[in-house]
Symmetry: C2
């Protein structure tokens, strides 16, 4: 219990990545925002496993900040649905039940369908070209069976698509909702069949987008998200997720 957070001692690399790319911006970010950023990463990537208690004092020493900004960050993450806030008993990383996952993907499918609909109407030629480029890069990763790279590009593509909807509020809402299930999707290792299907769906996506066919794109994305949901549900049912933590309903 002493080194419960030993598995997140390597968080320095995230800070490095941030500092390397946007050092000026991070320094202008308030402390609680930086803390929120790092905690969010830890939660989404599963470094803090679902169901784990967030001890304020431990996290203070770990992140080298006072309790005030840490608490503000935790409050923020609670509003995003990444942690549960138990009154007088602190915060725990959310552990989604199967029902929660179904509800999350139900909303996520609608939001991504909506974003696709709008994107098909509003995407610029430059954005479309970039999206196609990312798609082909992802196809390359697929051909090499480079799963991490595939996963990364996949996320980039979806992010670019959402942004093409040109609705900042939708983008923010989608990101919040997506963050909740991100830690689950992070651990899905595609089987060959599902992977192939997902790639095919991505091809259809690009096709519909090129044709500016908003209705078709909406449909494709909705179904695509349903398949993603099924993958996660499968993993939940077979107990591949949460292997070493008992359920807390």
């Amino acid at each position: 219990m002493d080194d419960k957070f030993a598995h997140i001692r390597h968080i320095g690399r995230f800070e490095d990545k941030i500092h390397a790319t946007e050092i000026t911006e991070i320094s202008r970010l308030s402390l609680h925002d930086q803390v929120a950023l790092r905690l969010r990463t830890l939660l989404v990537e599963g470094a803090i496993p679902p169901g784990a208690k967030l001890n304020e004092r431990e996290l203070c020493t770990l992140l080298k900040v006072s309790r005030t900004p840490l608490r503000e960050a935790i409050k923020l993450l609670a509003s995003e649905g990444l942690v549960d806030l138990l009154p007088n008993r602190g915060a725990v990383a959310v552990k989604l039940t199967e029902t929660d996952v179904i509800h999350s993907f139900e909303l996520l499918a609608e939001l991504e369908g909506m974003a696709g609909d709008l994107a098909a109407q509003r995407i610029t030629d430059a954005e479309l070209a970039e999206l196609r480029a990312l798609h082909f890069e992802m196809m390359a990763s697929y051909a090499r069976e480079d799963l991490p790279s595939y996963y990364h590009l996949n996320a980039l593509i979806h992010s670019a698509l959402i942004r093409a909807s040109k609705n900042p509020l939708l983008i923010k809402t989608y990101n919040n909702t997506n963050a909740r299930v991100q830690s689950l999707r992070y651990h899905t290792n595609h089987d060959a069949e599902k992977w192939k299907l997902a790639v095919k769906e991505h091809e259809n996506m690009i096709e519909a987008l090129t044709a500016r066919d908003s209705i078709r794109l909406r449909k494709i994305l909705t179904v695509h998200l349903q398949h993603k949901r099924d993958t996660v549900i499968d993993l939940l049912r077979t107990g591949k997720l949460y292997p070493d933590t008992q359920s807390t309903p």
Copy 2:
């Protein structure tokens, strides 16, 4: 500048209302939650006008709490999009531009359409009966031209409909999004023609819901929200909203 918040000195009544109905529950609520609740009301009802600066010290003395829970509440409201957080310069009540309003309603229409779709599939007979009852109460208020009562029942109906979708995440997302434009809708005084149309749309809603026609209900709600958006936009354009504050883009 000394009594800039003189217009919200009457907030005691909100506290009274809460205490009268659920004193046990409120006492179990943490302080920052209570503060957030009251600030949210002040913002949504326009007691703190859009664009107004939220001075921490003033609000502390006004709400009789320390700065810590107040700051936590403000952070929460910022994540909900009710206030803008300027680094080192505090928070201001959001002042939505026309573009913001369009984006908000775009998302709101989709969410309410989705909720209606799900509600038509999942609503219980008891819930439907209650919804019909509320509808007829609202019709009574319409007949009496009792606008405050109509507005209140209207909100209750929409809330009940959303809840019938049985998706807690959708409900929460809808409420958050709705809160952003609530302060605007709070000041819309329907003209006779638009009011009549809104009532007709509500009748169609109940009809579609009774028939469990999810696709039709979705369509009705989407259009209904578009009309509400047009009403708000009209008000923005004619300058009926924000009469005494200059625009800050």
